[in-house]
Symmetry: C2
Subunit: 133 residues, 2 copies
DNA sequence: CAGAATCCGGTCTGATACTG
DNA sequence: CAGTATCAGACCGGATTCTG
């Protein structure tokens, strides 16, 4: 159907040729990365401020997520050895370029939110007999 | 930086307003969904054929992934009660429309694969002292 | 063929406590 | 402030076994 996607993604290739693709997709899919990227896309932030803006993320998860993003070159980290210690995070050029495909995806979700919710309701009414689940 | 994204995604909203966004992102991020969608995007397939094309997926995971995608209205399922039983899967219109943002993301990854690999190497050389990890 | 059910080890995550 | 370390529980995903 979509030849380009097929070519760029490959057939059985996620686990073979496309290990990195899978890894990046994992990053996109993990619980916090996208939220962090979007927040940093708005503007650079310090650790605590970033945590506040990111809803209920624990500082453990925030640290971990930031390390991953930093390692992939999507986020930079600037530590200033002031007295209580100041660290600022922001998007690299690479990270900012990721905003666009991410935006396309998020917009797709928002545009089809109703359709998905409806599909789920329909599916659930036909399945899931009566029970608690 | 990217106002549109910020608006559509919200600030702290992933866990509050945007539960569905998070759920769809989870779907994109999970190990097999994208591969399945891409494979079905090429053409409709039967269970076994789909499994063959999807590398090393177990039938447990294939079933589970398909159920999720079906519930979200992205995939249809057509069972024909023949003798050994025939089931065919394919993308719905909704599922096909998802191919585009997905493609944008995959293309971004492919286009930036080298940059990411390089960033990782650089990061790892500075960190990870010497050890086994 | 197309699954459902069960077992089970590994990973992810959050809470908590401690450090420069 | 900005983390690191540790621990326990939830969850994920694979292998195996069984059914219509």
């Amino acid at each position: 159907m979509d030849k380009t996607l097929e070519q760029s993604y490959g057939q059985l290739s996620i686990l073979e040729d496309c290990t990195i693709t899978r890894q990046i997709l994992d990053r996109v899919g993990d619980k916090w990365s996208v939220l962090i990227i979007v927040n940093l896309g708005v503007k650079s932030l310090r650790f605590k401020e970033l945590q506040r803006r990111s809803g209920g993320i624990s500082q453990r998860m925030l640290t971990q997520t930031l390390r991953h993003l930093e390692r992939d070159g999507l986020v930079w980290r600037k530590a200033t050895p002031t007295v209580p210690l100041t660290v600022e995070y922001g998007l690299t050029a690479l990270g900012e370029s990721l905003l666009h495909p991410l935006q396309a995806l998020v917009e797709w979700v928002n545009g089809n939110r109703a359709a998905i919710a409806e599909a789920r309701t329909g599916y659930d009414s036909k399945h899931e007999p009566v029970g608690t689940e």
